[in-house]
């Protein structure tokens, strides 16, 4: 089993082999999807070291819970959910150790986003893909953790409001408010980046 080449094997077959205890099959799954899992952890944590640690923890948990994987979603979706939950736990732990930022307090009390002027032109128009990617990444890094998380879950993970609320353990109203703030802030940041660039 140890010498078996898994490189051409389907994910589903590898998962079944891993469920039987085949570590080489699991190693192949890690090799295939490690960048995606790391990228999701990084998009939520914005810290390389934490993202590496949490993504590794996600793989360990994935191995331990493989028996629970029924194939209702793809293996990467399942692993991504484990990663997101670990990142959210870590963010909650960190939040308990510091006071809320002024930005978050603003959001709870009605929010500055209500007063922000509407960005009338598309700030990403005529940008090259690579340039756009860099600007979006820069803008995302300037959002607070809770706003970035809700945006990542909605825009990149395609979760609906209800699923986000369940995942983040908050109300749908909070999800909607955070998403609205995050989008408006992103529009303003992208406009500013366009001006400065």
């Amino acid at each position: 089993m140890a010498d078996k080449d898994h490189s051409a094997t389907d994910d589903a077959v590898l998962v079944r082999a891993a469920q039987q205890g085949d570590m080489r099959a699991f190693e192949e799954l890690v090799a295939r999807h490690r960048d995606k899992i790391y990228a999701r952890a990084y998009s939520m944590m914005r810290n390389e070291e934490e993202a590496v640690d949490l993504s590794q923890e996600a793989w360990v948990k994935g191995w331990q819970r493989l028996a629970q994987f029924q194939g209702d979603s793809s293996f990467t979706t399942w692993m991504t959910r484990i990663t997101i939950n670990l990142c959210l736990d870590q963010l909650r732990r960190k939040k308990r150790h510091r006071t809320e930022s002024i930005e978050e307090m603003d959001e709870e009390s009605g929010g500055v986003e209500r007063q922000m002027p509407i960005v009338m032109v598309n700030p990403t128009e005529r940008l090259e893909r690579a340039e756009l990617r860099v600007r979006i990444d820069l803008a995302l890094s300037q959002l607070s953790e809770s706003h970035r998380t809700v945006l990542v879950l909605h825009e990149f993970e395609q979760m609906d409001y209800k699923t986000i609320a369940k995942t983040m353990r908050c109300s749908m109203g909070t999800v909607m408010s955070r998403l609205f703030y995050a989008r408006r802030k992103m529009a303003a940041l992208l406009r500013d980046l366009q001006k400065s660039g």
Partner: protein, 171 residues
């Protein structure tokens, strides 16, 4: 624009409204320039984000990354090598612990009640009972005149034979 309307506009964009609500928001967009402008801004942001997530690459070699995962898996498996005993233990913990806690609470309640509200004369009587048979636990509520005897062995023992009801006549 009211905050609720702003959030409705966003929910409209995200397809989170019922058909009736969506119709109402569509009507608003048709007649309100500010609503149209806000919707356009939200739409631009969404389309900018769609498919443009930065491609983050793992900042270390795949081999090193896997070696840490494999080491962690092995370490955790050494800590709990057998799944079945762990499951039995989990099962025991699930049922035995709550039961023990409940029994302990009941016993604690009895002790507190005895110490706070009972006549010393009766307490002596109860102590005697405990000495007669260590496997029997007796509780008597003097306020309601109720006596409860808890036998820790089957009913066919000698004590039960002398008193089929399993109670003690105190008088």
């Amino acid at each position: 624009m009211k905050p609720e309307v702003q959030l409705k506009l966003q929910a409209y964009l995200d397809g989170e409204l019922s058909s009736g609500e969506a119709k109402a928001v569509a009507d608003l967009i048709a007649r309100d320039a500010e609503a149209r402008a806000l919707l356009a801004e939200l739409t631009h942001t969404c389309s900018a984000l769609a498919g443009f997530e930065a491609e983050s690459k793992l900042p270390e070699s795949g081999e090193f990354y896997w070696s840490k995962i494999a080491r962690d898996i092995q370490r955790q498996e050494r800590r709990s090598p057998e799944r079945s005993p762990a499951s039995i233990f989990a099962l025991l913990r699930r049922f035995a612990v709550p039961t023990s806690v409940l029994v302990a609470l009941l016993l604690g309640l009895l002790v507190v009640k005895q110490q706070l509200g009972f006549d010393h004369r009766f307490a002596v009587l109860e102590t005697d009972t405990a000495q007669v048979d260590a496997g029997t636990f007796t509780y008597r509520d003097f306020a309601s005149g109720t006596t409860l005897v808890w036998l820790s062995y089957p009913a066919e023992n000698e004590f039960a034979e002398t008193d089929p009801a399993g109670t003690i006549n105190w008088e």
